[in-house]
Subunit: 202 residues, 2 copies
Protein backbone atom coordinates (compact mmCIF):
# COMPACT_ATOMS: atom_id res chain seq x y z
CA UNK A 1 0.00 0.00 0.00
CA UNK A 2 1.12 3.51 -0.80
CA UNK A 3 2.52 4.86 2.52
CA UNK A 4 1.17 8.35 1.79
CA UNK A 5 -2.29 6.84 1.41
CA UNK A 6 -1.93 4.83 4.63
CA UNK A 7 -0.83 7.90 6.51
CA UNK A 8 -3.47 10.30 5.25
CA UNK A 9 -6.36 8.06 4.30
CA UNK A 10 -7.80 7.51 7.76
CA UNK A 11 -7.60 10.90 9.37
CA UNK A 12 -11.03 12.26 10.29
CA UNK A 13 -12.11 15.17 8.11
CA UNK A 14 -9.75 14.31 5.25
CA UNK A 15 -12.47 13.66 2.73
CA UNK A 16 -14.18 16.94 3.63
CA UNK A 17 -10.90 18.78 3.19
CA UNK A 18 -10.20 17.04 -0.13
CA UNK A 19 -13.68 17.97 -1.36
CA UNK A 20 -13.18 21.59 -0.32
CA UNK A 21 -9.87 21.66 -2.23
CA UNK A 22 -11.40 20.07 -5.36
CA UNK A 23 -14.36 22.46 -5.30
CA UNK A 24 -12.09 25.47 -4.94
CA UNK A 25 -9.83 24.12 -7.70
CA UNK A 26 -12.74 23.54 -10.07
CA UNK A 27 -13.99 27.12 -9.61
CA UNK A 28 -10.56 28.73 -9.92
CA UNK A 29 -9.42 26.68 -12.94
CA UNK A 30 -12.68 27.63 -14.68
CA UNK A 31 -12.32 31.31 -13.77
CA UNK A 32 -8.59 31.83 -14.23
CA UNK A 33 -7.63 29.08 -16.66
CA UNK A 34 -4.84 26.57 -16.06
CA UNK A 35 -1.99 29.06 -16.28
CA UNK A 36 -3.65 31.64 -14.04
CA UNK A 37 -4.32 29.17 -11.23
CA UNK A 38 -1.90 28.63 -8.35
CA UNK A 39 -1.91 26.12 -5.50
CA UNK A 40 -1.74 29.10 -3.15
CA UNK A 41 -4.97 30.60 -4.55
CA UNK A 42 -6.80 27.29 -4.29
CA UNK A 43 -5.61 26.78 -0.73
CA UNK A 44 -6.76 30.28 0.27
CA UNK A 45 -10.15 29.68 -1.29
CA UNK A 46 -10.53 26.30 0.41
CA UNK A 47 -9.37 27.74 3.73
CA UNK A 48 -6.42 25.34 4.11
CA UNK A 49 -2.65 25.60 4.15
CA UNK A 50 -0.97 25.35 0.69
CA UNK A 51 1.24 22.60 2.15
CA UNK A 52 -1.86 20.48 2.62
CA UNK A 53 -2.82 20.86 -1.05
CA UNK A 54 0.69 19.75 -2.02
CA UNK A 55 0.45 16.90 0.45
CA UNK A 56 -2.82 15.62 -1.07
CA UNK A 57 -2.21 16.34 -4.74
CA UNK A 58 1.50 16.88 -5.31
CA UNK A 59 1.60 19.16 -8.35
CA UNK A 60 -0.83 21.51 -10.07
CA UNK A 61 -0.88 19.03 -12.98
CA UNK A 62 -2.13 16.24 -10.71
CA UNK A 63 -4.66 18.50 -9.04
CA UNK A 64 -6.02 19.50 -12.46
CA UNK A 65 -6.17 15.86 -13.53
CA UNK A 66 -8.21 15.00 -10.43
CA UNK A 67 -10.40 18.09 -10.65
CA UNK A 68 -11.31 17.53 -14.31
CA UNK A 69 -11.42 13.77 -13.92
CA UNK A 70 -8.79 13.78 -16.67
CA UNK A 71 -8.12 10.11 -17.19
CA UNK A 72 -4.30 10.13 -17.02
CA UNK A 73 -1.39 12.22 -15.84
CA UNK A 74 0.48 13.34 -18.98
CA UNK A 75 3.91 13.35 -17.36
CA UNK A 76 3.43 9.66 -16.45
CA UNK A 77 1.86 8.62 -19.76
CA UNK A 78 4.50 10.33 -21.87
CA UNK A 79 7.45 8.74 -20.08
CA UNK A 80 8.15 6.23 -22.91
CA UNK A 81 8.34 9.13 -25.37
CA UNK A 82 10.77 11.05 -23.17
CA UNK A 83 12.94 7.96 -22.76
CA UNK A 84 12.76 6.92 -26.41
CA UNK A 85 15.71 6.46 -28.69
CA UNK A 86 15.82 9.66 -30.73
CA UNK A 87 15.48 7.87 -34.07
CA UNK A 88 12.40 5.98 -32.87
CA UNK A 89 10.56 9.00 -31.50
CA UNK A 90 7.86 8.93 -34.19
CA UNK A 91 7.14 5.25 -33.65
CA UNK A 92 7.12 5.68 -29.87
CA UNK A 93 4.63 8.57 -30.08
CA UNK A 94 2.21 6.39 -32.07
CA UNK A 95 2.60 3.37 -29.77
CA UNK A 96 2.24 5.44 -26.58
CA UNK A 97 -0.77 7.30 -27.95
CA UNK A 98 -2.61 4.16 -29.00
CA UNK A 99 -1.74 2.23 -25.85
CA UNK A 100 -3.62 4.88 -23.90
CA UNK A 101 -6.46 5.72 -26.33
CA UNK A 102 -7.31 2.18 -27.35
CA UNK A 103 -8.23 1.58 -23.68
CA UNK A 104 -11.94 2.40 -23.32
CA UNK A 105 -11.46 3.34 -19.65
CA UNK A 106 -9.26 6.17 -20.79
CA UNK A 107 -11.05 6.96 -24.02
CA UNK A 108 -14.54 7.57 -22.60
CA UNK A 109 -13.62 10.36 -20.20
CA UNK A 110 -10.95 11.78 -22.53
CA UNK A 111 -13.44 12.09 -25.40
CA UNK A 112 -15.82 13.81 -22.97
CA UNK A 113 -13.19 16.46 -22.29
CA UNK A 114 -12.40 16.86 -25.98
CA UNK A 115 -16.11 17.29 -26.72
CA UNK A 116 -16.54 19.98 -24.10
CA UNK A 117 -13.47 21.81 -25.43
CA UNK A 118 -14.93 21.78 -28.95
CA UNK A 119 -18.29 23.15 -27.84
CA UNK A 120 -17.42 25.45 -24.93
CA UNK A 121 -14.95 28.35 -25.09
CA UNK A 122 -14.08 28.23 -21.37
CA UNK A 123 -13.36 24.49 -21.52
CA UNK A 124 -11.32 25.05 -24.71
CA UNK A 125 -9.18 27.63 -22.95
CA UNK A 126 -8.55 25.36 -19.95
CA UNK A 127 -7.70 22.37 -22.13
CA UNK A 128 -5.49 24.49 -24.42
CA UNK A 129 -3.47 25.81 -21.48
CA UNK A 130 -3.25 22.40 -19.84
CA UNK A 131 -2.08 20.78 -23.11
CA UNK A 132 0.44 23.57 -23.69
CA UNK A 133 1.83 23.53 -20.14
CA UNK A 134 2.09 19.76 -19.79
CA UNK A 135 1.91 17.69 -22.98
CA UNK A 136 3.47 20.23 -25.34
CA UNK A 137 6.11 21.27 -22.83
CA UNK A 138 7.15 17.61 -22.44
CA UNK A 139 7.11 16.96 -26.19
CA UNK A 140 9.18 20.08 -26.80
CA UNK A 141 11.94 18.52 -24.66
CA UNK A 142 12.20 15.66 -27.14
CA UNK A 143 12.24 17.97 -30.19
CA UNK A 144 15.07 19.79 -31.92
CA UNK A 145 15.61 23.01 -29.98
CA UNK A 146 14.99 25.18 -33.07
CA UNK A 147 11.24 25.68 -33.34
CA UNK A 148 10.56 23.31 -30.45
CA UNK A 149 7.18 24.98 -29.79
CA UNK A 150 6.04 24.76 -33.39
CA UNK A 151 7.27 21.15 -33.54
CA UNK A 152 5.27 20.02 -30.55
CA UNK A 153 2.16 21.92 -31.73
CA UNK A 154 2.46 20.14 -35.10
CA UNK A 155 2.61 16.80 -33.28
CA UNK A 156 -0.46 17.81 -31.28
CA UNK A 157 -2.33 18.67 -34.49
CA UNK A 158 -1.70 15.24 -36.02
CA UNK A 159 -2.53 13.55 -32.70
CA UNK A 160 -5.84 15.43 -32.40
CA UNK A 161 -6.75 14.67 -36.01
CA UNK A 162 -5.94 11.01 -35.65
CA UNK A 163 -8.09 10.78 -32.53
CA UNK A 164 -10.96 12.64 -34.19
CA UNK A 165 -10.80 10.50 -37.35
CA UNK A 166 -10.33 7.17 -35.57
CA UNK A 167 -12.55 7.48 -32.50
CA UNK A 168 -15.09 10.25 -33.14
CA UNK A 169 -15.86 10.26 -36.87
CA UNK A 170 -14.69 6.62 -37.19
CA UNK A 171 -13.36 7.23 -40.70
CA UNK A 172 -12.29 4.01 -42.38
CA UNK A 173 -9.76 2.57 -42.92
CA UNK A 174 -8.21 4.64 -40.10
CA UNK A 175 -10.78 3.54 -37.53
CA UNK A 176 -9.74 -0.10 -37.76
CA UNK A 177 -6.07 0.27 -38.74
CA UNK A 178 -3.68 -1.71 -36.54
CA UNK A 179 -1.05 -0.09 -34.36
CA UNK A 180 1.66 -1.36 -36.72
CA UNK A 181 -0.03 0.16 -39.76
CA UNK A 182 -0.28 3.50 -37.97
CA UNK A 183 3.35 3.25 -36.86
CA UNK A 184 4.35 2.92 -40.52
CA UNK A 185 1.99 5.53 -41.95
CA UNK A 186 1.86 8.21 -39.22
CA UNK A 187 5.11 7.50 -37.30
CA UNK A 188 7.31 9.27 -39.89
CA UNK A 189 5.09 12.37 -39.64
CA UNK A 190 5.78 12.64 -35.90
CA UNK A 191 9.47 11.88 -36.47
CA UNK A 192 9.79 14.68 -39.02
CA UNK A 193 7.81 17.16 -36.90
CA UNK A 194 10.05 16.51 -33.88
CA UNK A 195 13.46 16.11 -35.47
CA UNK A 196 13.31 16.82 -39.21
CA UNK A 197 13.38 19.86 -41.45
CA UNK A 198 10.11 21.76 -41.03
CA UNK A 199 11.29 25.10 -42.41
CA UNK A 200 11.81 24.08 -45.99
CA UNK A 201 9.20 22.65 -48.33
CA UNK A 202 10.46 20.23 -50.95
CA UNK B 1 -27.78 36.48 -63.94
CA UNK B 2 -27.73 32.73 -63.81
CA UNK B 3 -30.20 31.64 -66.53
CA UNK B 4 -31.41 28.71 -64.41
CA UNK B 5 -32.29 31.15 -61.64
CA UNK B 6 -34.05 33.51 -64.09
CA UNK B 7 -36.06 30.63 -65.45
CA UNK B 8 -37.09 29.05 -62.15
CA UNK B 9 -36.91 31.94 -59.69
CA UNK B 10 -40.22 33.55 -60.52
CA UNK B 11 -42.55 30.67 -60.97
CA UNK B 12 -45.36 30.70 -58.40
CA UNK B 13 -45.01 27.99 -55.77
CA UNK B 14 -41.26 27.48 -56.34
CA UNK B 15 -40.21 28.51 -52.87
CA UNK B 16 -42.86 26.25 -51.34
CA UNK B 17 -41.61 23.36 -53.45
CA UNK B 18 -37.98 24.07 -52.56
CA UNK B 19 -38.89 24.17 -48.87
CA UNK B 20 -40.75 20.88 -49.16
CA UNK B 21 -37.69 19.30 -50.81
CA UNK B 22 -35.30 20.68 -48.19
CA UNK B 23 -37.53 19.52 -45.33
CA UNK B 24 -37.82 16.05 -46.81
CA UNK B 25 -34.04 15.97 -47.43
CA UNK B 26 -33.26 17.04 -43.87
CA UNK B 27 -35.43 14.28 -42.43
CA UNK B 28 -34.14 11.54 -44.76
CA UNK B 29 -30.44 12.46 -44.45
CA UNK B 30 -30.85 12.38 -40.65
CA UNK B 31 -32.69 9.05 -40.73
CA UNK B 32 -30.78 7.20 -43.44
CA UNK B 33 -27.41 8.94 -43.43
CA UNK B 34 -25.74 10.42 -46.50
CA UNK B 35 -25.11 7.10 -48.26
CA UNK B 36 -28.59 5.72 -47.63
CA UNK B 37 -30.36 8.77 -49.06
CA UNK B 38 -31.40 8.99 -52.71
CA UNK B 39 -32.86 11.86 -54.72
CA UNK B 40 -35.73 9.51 -55.57
CA UNK B 41 -36.60 8.96 -51.88
CA UNK B 42 -36.52 12.67 -51.14
CA UNK B 43 -38.71 13.42 -54.15
CA UNK B 44 -41.25 10.81 -53.09
CA UNK B 45 -41.34 12.22 -49.57
CA UNK B 46 -41.74 15.79 -50.81
CA UNK B 47 -44.41 14.69 -53.29
CA UNK B 48 -42.54 15.96 -56.36
CA UNK B 49 -40.93 14.45 -59.44
CA UNK B 50 -37.24 13.45 -59.00
CA UNK B 51 -36.46 15.50 -62.11
CA UNK B 52 -37.57 18.61 -60.24
CA UNK B 53 -35.14 17.87 -57.38
CA UNK B 54 -32.34 17.50 -59.93
CA UNK B 55 -33.49 20.69 -61.62
CA UNK B 56 -33.33 22.69 -58.37
CA UNK B 57 -30.28 21.11 -56.73
CA UNK B 58 -28.29 19.24 -59.35
CA UNK B 59 -26.54 16.51 -57.39
CA UNK B 60 -27.05 14.83 -54.02
CA UNK B 61 -23.85 16.56 -52.87
CA UNK B 62 -25.31 20.00 -53.61
CA UNK B 63 -28.62 19.11 -52.01
CA UNK B 64 -26.80 17.99 -48.84
CA UNK B 65 -24.73 21.18 -48.84
CA UNK B 66 -27.93 23.26 -49.02
CA UNK B 67 -29.80 21.12 -46.52
CA UNK B 68 -27.04 21.25 -43.90
CA UNK B 69 -26.10 24.84 -44.76
CA UNK B 70 -22.65 23.37 -45.43
CA UNK B 71 -20.66 26.44 -46.37
CA UNK B 72 -19.06 25.13 -49.60
CA UNK B 73 -19.41 22.45 -52.24
CA UNK B 74 -16.37 20.17 -51.85
CA UNK B 75 -16.12 19.28 -55.54
CA UNK B 76 -15.81 23.02 -56.34
CA UNK B 77 -13.49 23.88 -53.46
CA UNK B 78 -11.12 20.99 -54.16
CA UNK B 79 -10.69 21.78 -57.86
CA UNK B 80 -7.18 23.30 -57.37
CA UNK B 81 -6.07 20.09 -55.65
CA UNK B 82 -7.42 17.92 -58.45
CA UNK B 83 -5.69 20.08 -61.06
CA UNK B 84 -2.43 20.39 -59.12
CA UNK B 85 0.95 19.35 -60.40
CA UNK B 86 1.58 15.99 -58.76
CA UNK B 87 4.76 17.10 -57.01
CA UNK B 88 3.03 20.12 -55.52
CA UNK B 89 0.01 18.26 -54.18
CA UNK B 90 0.99 18.72 -50.52
CA UNK B 91 1.49 22.44 -50.93
CA UNK B 92 -1.77 22.79 -52.88
CA UNK B 93 -3.74 20.96 -50.19
CA UNK B 94 -2.47 23.41 -47.53
CA UNK B 95 -3.13 26.50 -49.68
CA UNK B 96 -6.62 25.33 -50.71
CA UNK B 97 -7.53 24.40 -47.14
CA UNK B 98 -6.43 27.71 -45.67
CA UNK B 99 -7.94 29.82 -48.47
CA UNK B 100 -11.31 28.38 -47.45
CA UNK B 101 -10.92 28.11 -43.67
CA UNK B 102 -9.24 31.47 -43.09
CA UNK B 103 -12.45 33.05 -44.43
CA UNK B 104 -14.74 33.64 -41.41
CA UNK B 105 -17.86 33.32 -43.61
CA UNK B 106 -16.90 29.74 -44.26
CA UNK B 107 -15.34 29.00 -40.91
CA UNK B 108 -18.31 29.93 -38.70
CA UNK B 109 -20.82 27.49 -40.22
CA UNK B 110 -18.16 24.83 -40.85
CA UNK B 111 -17.09 24.84 -37.21
CA UNK B 112 -20.75 24.56 -36.25
CA UNK B 113 -21.01 21.35 -38.26
CA UNK B 114 -17.77 20.00 -36.82
CA UNK B 115 -19.02 20.76 -33.30
CA UNK B 116 -22.28 18.93 -33.86
CA UNK B 117 -20.43 15.93 -35.30
CA UNK B 118 -18.21 15.78 -32.22
CA UNK B 119 -21.13 15.88 -29.79
CA UNK B 120 -23.89 14.04 -31.64
CA UNK B 121 -23.64 10.51 -33.02
CA UNK B 122 -26.21 11.01 -35.78
CA UNK B 123 -24.49 14.19 -36.98
CA UNK B 124 -21.13 12.35 -36.83
CA UNK B 125 -22.48 9.58 -39.05
CA UNK B 126 -23.86 12.02 -41.62
CA UNK B 127 -20.66 14.07 -41.71
CA UNK B 128 -18.50 10.93 -41.88
CA UNK B 129 -20.43 9.58 -44.87
CA UNK B 130 -20.49 12.96 -46.59
CA UNK B 131 -16.72 13.42 -46.09
CA UNK B 132 -16.04 9.87 -47.31
CA UNK B 133 -18.30 10.11 -50.38
CA UNK B 134 -17.18 13.56 -51.49
CA UNK B 135 -13.94 14.91 -50.02
CA UNK B 136 -12.16 11.58 -49.52
CA UNK B 137 -13.36 10.22 -52.85
CA UNK B 138 -11.93 13.27 -54.63
CA UNK B 139 -8.66 13.17 -52.69
CA UNK B 140 -8.28 9.46 -53.44
CA UNK B 141 -8.23 10.35 -57.16
CA UNK B 142 -5.09 12.41 -56.59
CA UNK B 143 -3.38 9.69 -54.53
CA UNK B 144 -1.28 6.73 -55.57
CA UNK B 145 -3.74 3.94 -56.44
CA UNK B 146 -2.24 1.57 -53.85
CA UNK B 147 -3.91 2.32 -50.53
CA UNK B 148 -5.77 5.30 -52.01
CA UNK B 149 -8.43 5.05 -49.27
CA UNK B 150 -5.94 4.95 -46.42
CA UNK B 151 -4.01 7.80 -48.04
CA UNK B 152 -7.00 10.11 -48.25
CA UNK B 153 -8.11 9.22 -44.71
CA UNK B 154 -4.60 10.09 -43.46
CA UNK B 155 -4.87 13.46 -45.21
CA UNK B 156 -8.27 13.97 -43.59
CA UNK B 157 -6.80 13.20 -40.16
CA UNK B 158 -4.08 15.86 -40.50
CA UNK B 159 -6.59 18.33 -41.95
CA UNK B 160 -8.99 17.79 -39.03
CA UNK B 161 -6.20 18.11 -36.48
CA UNK B 162 -4.86 21.27 -38.05
CA UNK B 163 -8.34 22.81 -38.02
CA UNK B 164 -8.91 21.78 -34.42
CA UNK B 165 -5.52 23.07 -33.25
CA UNK B 166 -5.61 26.32 -35.25
CA UNK B 167 -9.25 27.37 -35.03
CA UNK B 168 -10.85 25.59 -32.06
CA UNK B 169 -8.16 25.14 -29.41
CA UNK B 170 -6.11 28.01 -30.90
CA UNK B 171 -2.84 26.32 -29.97
CA UNK B 172 0.13 28.59 -30.54
CA UNK B 173 2.25 28.93 -32.62
CA UNK B 174 -0.07 27.04 -35.01
CA UNK B 175 -2.98 29.42 -34.51
CA UNK B 176 -1.06 32.36 -35.93
CA UNK B 177 1.31 30.57 -38.33
CA UNK B 178 1.29 32.01 -41.86
CA UNK B 179 0.14 30.04 -44.89
CA UNK B 180 3.77 29.82 -46.09
CA UNK B 181 4.93 28.41 -42.75
CA UNK B 182 2.22 25.77 -42.88
CA UNK B 183 3.06 24.96 -46.50
CA UNK B 184 6.63 24.23 -45.41
CA UNK B 185 5.81 22.36 -42.20
CA UNK B 186 2.61 20.47 -43.05
CA UNK B 187 2.76 20.38 -46.87
CA UNK B 188 5.29 17.50 -46.94
CA UNK B 189 2.99 15.47 -44.66
CA UNK B 190 0.15 15.70 -47.20
CA UNK B 191 2.58 15.04 -50.05
CA UNK B 192 3.83 11.85 -48.40
CA UNK B 193 0.35 10.65 -47.44
CA UNK B 194 -0.86 11.06 -51.03
CA UNK B 195 2.16 9.96 -53.04
CA UNK B 196 4.90 8.63 -50.72
CA UNK B 197 5.73 5.37 -49.00
CA UNK B 198 3.21 4.85 -46.19
CA UNK B 199 3.74 1.12 -45.78
CA UNK B 200 7.28 1.18 -44.45
CA UNK B 201 8.47 2.94 -41.32
CA UNK B 202 11.94 4.36 -41.43
Amino acid sequence: MNPAKARTGRRAGDSGTRDAILNAARAIFAESGYDGTTIRKIAADAGVDPALVHHFYGTKERLFVDTMRFPAVPSDTLRPVLESNRRQLGETVVRTLLAVWDDPHFRGPALGLLRSAVTNEQAARMLRQFIASTILALLARTAKPEDAELRSALVASQVLGLLLARFVLELEPLASASTDELVRSVGPTFQRYLTGDIRRGH
